[in-house]
Amino acid sequence: MTASTPQVAMATMEDKRLANRERIRKARRRSRIAAWSVRLASLAILLGIWQWYGSSVNPILFAPPTKIARAFGTLISDGTLGHALVQSLTVFGIGLGAAIVVAIPLALVWARYQVVDWAIQGYVNALYATPLVALVPLLILWFGFGTKAKAIIIFLFAVFPLLINTYQGARSVERGLVEVARSFGCKEFATWRHVVLPSAVPFVAAGLNLAVGRALVGMIIAEFYTSASGLGYMVLSASNTFQTAKMFVPILVVMALGVFLLGLTRTLKRKVSPWSEQEGRL
């Protein structure tokens, strides 16, 4: 073989690069297909076992997927499910929204002023550690059975992780960066704006993720204990009337809601603080 010219060598290199890229792409595709095959097979097996077992026991105790699907259809077409979902999401939104609006500014003041820290830290930690379900009867006594009571219960479930995370975010700002800001002439307000607040963002997002999970728990509990409304009440009323298939419907909806909202807040965290995701992976 004669010595190849540079152009030929280049072309060969390019070919190899392309071939390599193609190989990697195919390998990725194969592993994606494998993952989804296993997932679907696992789901099919689960549904199969459920169907078989659910049909063979007393319908008061359990329901097979086919019956649940039928109940789903009925509850959607008569509007019950949609109505309950709107009721639930309304109180969920009010409670969580209020928690965000209250917790973030309060946490910043808490982080900034030592006096506030001394004054409130004990209560916040104590309330965060308290199983809040224990307070629900008391809250009903104070605020009644209506929307207000529900929103307050959800608020209390959601507010503490947001409060504590935001506080820690503002507190754990890198001292070196505060110094950078000062060296360029930042006074206190500018230092907060350029350094403290942005570095707290990933903590706030993580707090929001926790708060959403807890707010969902609060929502169901509130609907169990207060006036008849929402998905929680749907579970309760189906259970009281032994309509097990109907009981599964709101449970599955709440499950889907949880998966969706937690995924949403995780995506949000990645979007607002790509740098902290990067550190986490390193």
Partner: protein
């Protein structure tokens, strides 16, 4: 000696500030960090402060930059007593000190924004200094997406963008690899030789100090004080590889090394 003074005089420029330390003393509790540090740096001069790790040279730089107070004596920048970060100064930090949530463009713009530059001026200057440190095309990247050497270029551009009369550099190239460091030395030489701002460059590398400086202040182990002010009479423009080949380089290196050894600083980097 005479020619060093002459080169310093030639370098003095209107956009450069002098630095004076008068009997500066600093304590951390019981520990005497700086003892009677006394020197003056003429405007437009490039001075390296050379000393073993942990000898207090960073503390000295932070004191000049107004980030820590001193316990006795006084520091003057541009003839004015330092009390908080002086508006004439900008710092290049050892660990870069970039805001991870800001793009490279916004990091470079940071100092200007804080100091209230108008938006048209800001844009023009940021572009200019990003170009000067060869970061054009990376404006929208985030610091974590680029190498350590490039991150320190951002740090340098951010400091230069405020067009400081005094540039304080705290071991800026200590955490980049050796090859990148050499490239950055040459770039810094090129930038500095054009506009001759006053530079105080903290380092524990003898070679780095010789390559870059007009004068080297050798510091003793703590309590730190300036043992000797060594003029570096190597003509400019300089490039690291050429400087390293000069006989003066070897002589200066030996001399610095002797001084540091006498100060009990055997572990100072012989890099």
């Amino acid at each position: 000696m005479a020619s060093a003074a002459a080169s310093v005089e030639r370098a003095a420029a209107a956009h450069a500030a002098s630095v004076e330390c008068r009997h500066v003393e600093k304590w951390f509790g019981e520990l005497n960090v700086l003892a009677d540090v006394d020197f003056s740096i003429p405007a437009g001069s490039f001075v390296s402060v050379l000393g073993p790790s942990g000898c207090g040279k960073t503390t000295l730089m932070r004191a000049i930059g107004g980030l820590v107070g001193i316990d006795d004596g006084e520091i003057l920048v541009g003839g004015r007593r330092v009390d908080g970060p002086p508006a004439e100064a900008a710092i290049v930090f050892q660990q870069f000190g970039l805001m991870p949530w800001k793009t490279i463009y916004d990091n470079v713009a940071f100092g200007l924004k804080v100091r209230g530059a108008s938006s048209s001026e800001l844009e023009e200057r940021v572009r200019h200094y990003i170009d000067l440190v060869h970061l054009t095309g990376f404006e929208k990247s985030y610091p974590y997406q680029v190498s350590g050497g490039m991150q320190q270029r951002v740090g340098l551009a951010r400091a230069l963008a405020v067009e400081p009369q005094l540039l304080l550099m705290d071991e800026p190239f200590a955490s980049v690899d050796a090859m990148t460091r050499e490239v950055l030395h040459d770039e810094l030489l090129g930038i500095w030789e054009r506009d001759r701002r006053t530079v105080v460059f903290i380092t524990h590398s003898i070679d780095e100090a010789i390559v870059l400086s007009d004068q080297i202040f050798v510091m003793s182990r703590s309590p730190a004080t300036v043992v000797e002010q060594i003029p570096v009479e190597i003509p400019r423009p300089r490039r690291e590889r050429t400087v390293r080949g000069l006989p003066q380089f070897a002589e200066l290196r030996e001399h610095c090394w002797d001084l540091l050894e006498r100060g009990g600083a055997e572990e100072a980097a012989r890099s």
